[in-house]
Amino acid sequence: MLAYLVAVWLLLIGLYGVITSRHLVHLVLCLGVMQASTYVLLLAIGWRIDAQAPIYVDIPPRARVVDPVVQALTLTDVVVEATVVAVLLALSVQAHKRFGTCDPDALGALRG
């Protein structure tokens, strides 16, 4: 249960960071923390007690293993989220150049 609560906590603290951020890079990294919460949640769901890693090289074919599906999902998730972070950071670099500042609250040309 603690593992799940860790995931919940990471999600909440990351979202708090996004809401109150004053620097675009900090904001993107807070999104990264939120993403980390999804990894923790997925992997915690797949954990099996007294089981081994799902690599059948040196364990018998009938051994208890943890859930490999969840790990595959996490792998996909990591790649997806990393690429979103890359695009966001590219936008932040451009923002710094255009506005001279990295403060998200300085964005305000599009209003109403």
Partner: protein
């Protein structure tokens, strides 16, 4: 909305959201006892029917290979996106001038750092290739190995060899490689349709568990993905490195 109003709204929502999420995770199965047919079926199928020792790679490239195609395309688009979003600032001349300035400064990098960098790059590339090719056997696969290979490039830059970096990655070559990797994956998927029964059907011989050529097309896809990820991550990193060069690099600024 004033900062204070935003804070109040944000904290209130987060508190409510937190309560809801705790209520939700209380309904999950006990930690350590996952439920469900998929978790039990998947490793058995992948091992027995495809002779893939690493169940995670087997699930990633065979059972759920179509998801991996989508994920690979996301990386492909993001790499192109970084090029598109940062190109407006990248005039060729400006980059060359900046590189000359950087080269002069790089000459001041300590010898120890350069030597260490040069020494590590070789083994790192080898490790990356190993991880990509042995995806079906040991923990690893196309994505992990591709990132290691791209990291080798970043190591070259960090160790002070900026000019070497430019020679290694003419941008259009990397873009083409990225696209080629993505195309290769799609073609393998279509090959399933042409030679087999369904799209993404595993039509190559399956081999024996534990040998390099096992799992049918799993190693092939792993290599395609490895190529694509290396090129994609390299493209993204090199775009950011260019930005740094254009703005005097991080070394001259505070800290």
């Amino acid at each position: 909305m004033s900062v204070r109003a935003r804070l109040v709204l944000g904290l209130g929502s987060l508190a409510a959201l937190g309560a809801l999420l705790v209520w939700a995770v209380a309904g999950l199965p006990d930690f350590g006892h996952p439920r469900g047919p998929y978790a039990v079926l998947a490793p058995q199928i992948v091992l027995n029917e495809r002779h893939v020792a690493n169940a995670v790679t087997g699930v990633n490239f065979d059972l759920r290979g179509f998801d991996t195609l989508g994920e690979e395309l996301i990386l492909f688009v993001a790499a192109l996106g970084a090029t598109v979003l940062l190109r407006a600032q990248r005039a060729e001349r400006a980059v060359e001038d900046a590189q000359e300035a950087e080269e002069r400064r790089a000459a001041g990098t300590t010898d120890a750092l350069r030597a260490l960098g040069a020494a590590i790059v070789g083994p790192m590339v080898l490790l990356g290739i190993y991880v990509v090719v042995h995806g079906a056997l040991t923990p690893g696969g196309g994505f992990q190995g591709g990132v290691i290979l791209a990291g080798a490039l970043l190591l070259v830059y960090t160790a002070g060899q900026v000019v070497a970096v430019q020679r290694v990655r003419p941008v259009s070559l990397v873009e083409v490689t990225d696209a080629a990797g993505a195309a290769a994956y799609t073609l393998v998927a279509l090959a399933g349709l042409v030679f087999g029964v369904a799209v993404m059907d595993n039509v190559l011989p399956i081999g024996t568990t534990g040998s390099l050529l096992s799992g049918g097309f799993v190693p092939v896809l792993s290599i395609a993905v490895g190529v694509e990820v290396t090129a994609g991550v390299t493209l993204i990193l090199s775009e950011f490195v260019d930005q740094m060069l254009l703005h005097g690099g991080g070394r001259r600024e505070e800290g």
